[in-house]
């Protein structure tokens, strides 16, 4: 019964998401733009969570996002690759970089891993800023995806998100789930139990980076302009991490809810303060760590349990 209920909810959600541009496309382009931003953010958040499931807390999601953006923009403008292919190539470049980084940082745990990934991301930013072919600090102009049609772009990123959700769902329902959880809980024990720790850690890195890279490539061809500060912004890494923690870690729903709530909240705050609205991320991070260790999803579950008990 609950299964069927969840299936119906899911179908309704997907149908509503697909139908949104037809309703909002002409009358309310602002809401469609907001929805599109939420979707980009949700892809990033889910991608971060996929990696976190193996216990690797990355501060490098801006790196993969930026790599995807730059790779796609460069391929399309210089090699005249079709844009959709460029975005896919952006994902591929991110995967290659992530595999390398993942292999290098295998031995690093916890805080060391986080610092190393942050260093990686910032190093890329400096390179993008200093090199001539990346346009230096003034950045690059990227041609618009699908002729700049907002509803079509919306459906494009929706498709990427659906793919990410499918992958995340699949992982959490397969044997991988146990491998990831075992590695996160205790790497030595997982290894001793016969889990191929190296393979799963690098795999998680590659899958995670693929979606971050796709989101980055998409971003470049929708906002039409990238520079080192935006593409490799630490705000991207922070957002990618706060959303899943806020929504609820290690699940598919949590990062999505976190991303939606945060982006809408950010939008409201943005109208009040011209800058500094990221303060909400800091507050939420602190509050969640101190009081809500399982995020919004955990809060919802415990409220329901309490509701049923009374």
């Amino acid at each position: 019964m609950r299964r069927a209920g969840a299936g119906v909810t899911l179908a309704v959600l997907v149908a509503a998401a697909v139908a949104l541009p037809f309703w909002a496309g002409r009358a309310q382009p602002y809401y469609l733009q907001l929805a599109l931003n939420i979707l980009i953010f949700a892809v990033l958040a889910l991608s971060w969570d996929l990696l976190a499931r193996t216990g690797q807390l990355s501060l490098a999601h801006a790196a993969f996002f930026g790599l995807g953006a730059y790779a796609s923009a460069l391929l399309v403008t210089l090699a005249h690759v079709p844009i959709a292919l460029g975005i896919a190539a952006g994902g591929l470049v991110a995967v290659i970089a992530a595999t390398g980084l993942g292999l290098l940082t295998l031995r690093l745990r916890g805080i060391y891993f986080a610092i190393a990934t942050l260093a990686f991301s910032e190093t890329l930013r400096v390179i993008a800023k200093q090199m001539r072919f990346t346009g230096g600090s003034s950045g690059l102009i990227a041609p618009p995806l699908l002729g700049g049609s907002l509803p079509a772009q919306y459906l494009f990123i929706l498709a990427i998100l659906v793919a990410a959700v499918a992958v995340s769902w699949g992982i959490n329902r397969s044997r991988w789930y146990f491998a990831f959880t075992a590695i996160r809980t205790n790497e030595e024990v997982a290894g001793a139990m016969g889990v191929d720790v190296v393979r799963f850690k690098v795999l998680a890195f590659a899958i995670s980076a693929a979606f971050a890279g796709l989101a980055g490539g998409f971003y470049a061809h929708v906002f039409l302009f990238i520079n080192p500060f935006e593409a490799f912004s630490i705000a991207t890494s922070v957002g990618a991490l706060v959303a899943p923690i806020f929504g609820g870690l290690y699940s598919t729903v949590g990062p999505l809810i976190g991303a939606a709530v945060l982006r809408v909240g950010e939008e409201i705050l943005r109208t009040k303060f011209r800058s500094g609205y990221l303060i909400i991320y800091g507050l939420i991070l602190a509050i969640v760590i101190l009081y809500l260790p399982r995020g919004l999803v955990g809060l919802w579950a415990s409220m329901r349990r309490r509701g049923r008990a009374s």
């Binding site: 807390l57 290098l104 940082t105 031995r107 690093l108 916890g110 805080i111 060391y112 986080a114 610092i115 190393a116 942050l118 260093a119 990686f120 910032e122 190093t123 400096v126 390179i127 800023k129 200093q130 630490i234 922070v238 991490l241 923690i245 303060f273 800058s275 500094g276 609205y277 990221l278 303060i279 991320y281 800091g282 507050l283 939420i284 991070l285 602190a286 760590i289 101190l290 260790p293």
Partner: protein, 281 residues
């Protein structure tokens, strides 16, 4: 070039020694360390602009204020996660860092502020070279603070208590050391040191809400080189960072931009090659 590298390493040492202290004694890697430096820098700026107090004279005020702020932050948040997983601590301090940075943006806008101290552009001859007076003063003071800290740690009762807690929390509490009080004092002291470093940033350069993260990361690079929690290695590691930045600025074309990447590269390389740090404790 060498002298520029050495001079800037003084400020680096002062910044990182506080972080090394909180890592070594409390075991908390504080991502908000640079934000406390940033608050110190703004305090120095406002005291100078509003009341005409020279940042050098304001150092005790800054140290006291940041000690209090740091203590409050510790009590309100960090103390609660001391026994939580390391990553929760990291995320909490990361949250505090984002919070403080954006608070500064809201309060004081993102524009950089420069305190026009009268002797800012004064240069003094140093042997065959000419160096800026503020740089020289900052280096001297920073080194004095760092060495002073070493003395405190080595000689005083408080310092001994801190080292005992760093070595073994349970053992220290068994011989009658109030561990929680030591933690509070250590964290306050670390923040006060960051605040003092911030005032020196005001004296020498300019301040903006964004400098915090930069100094946190540089301090990370240094304590990673020194080996996490190794306070003695901090001076050498600061020299390595200061000298390699100066080297890149002088010898690499467009070095000014590339030098921003030096410390990241150092972090990456050291973590990957020698995760225990370069220097013996």
């Amino acid at each position: 070039m060498v002298i520029f590298g050495v001079l800037r390493s003084g400020l680096y040492a002062l910044t990182s020694v506080g972080l090394a202290l909180s890592v070594g004694v409390i075991g908390v890697v504080n991502f908000a360390h640079g934000e406390f430096l940033m608050l110190g820098a703004y305090l120095g700026y406002w005291l100078f602009v509003s009341y005409g107090i020279d940042p050098l004279l304001a150092i005790p005020i800054g140290a006291a204020a940041l000690f209090a702020i740091g203590g409050a932050v510790f009590r309100a948040g960090i103390q609660r996660v001391l026994r939580a997983p390391e990553l929760n601590q990291m995320l909490l301090t990361f949250g505090i860092s984002i919070f403080l940075q954006n608070l500064a943006i809201i309060l004081w806008t993102g524009d950089p502020r420069t305190a026009a101290v009268s002797y800012k552009a004064t240069a003094v001859p140093l042997g065959p070279l000419v160096v800026g007076l503020p740089q020289l003063v900052v280096f001297g003071l920073a080194m004095a603070f760092v060495l002073g800290l070493y003395l405190v740690l080595g000689r005083s009762r408080l310092g001994k208590a801190m080292r005992a807690v760093a070595q073994n929390r349970v053992g220290a509490s068994l011989i009658g050391i109030e561990v929680d009080r030591i933690y509070l004092l250590t964290f306050g002291l670390a923040c006060a040191l960051a605040g003092v470093a911030g005032m020196m940033v005001t004296l020498q350069l300019s301040t903006s809400p964004f400098i915090g993260l930069l100094y946190t990361l540089k301090a990370f690079a240094i304590i990673v080189m020194a080996g996490l929690g190794n306070i003695n290695g901090v001076i050498y590691a600061s020299l390595v960072l200061g000298l390699s930045e100066a080297f890149v600025e002088f010898y690499v074309p467009q070095g000014g931009g590339w030098s921003e990447g030096v410390f990241f590269l150092l972090i990456l390389v050291v973590l990957l090659v020698r995760p225990k740090g370069l220097f013996r404790s």
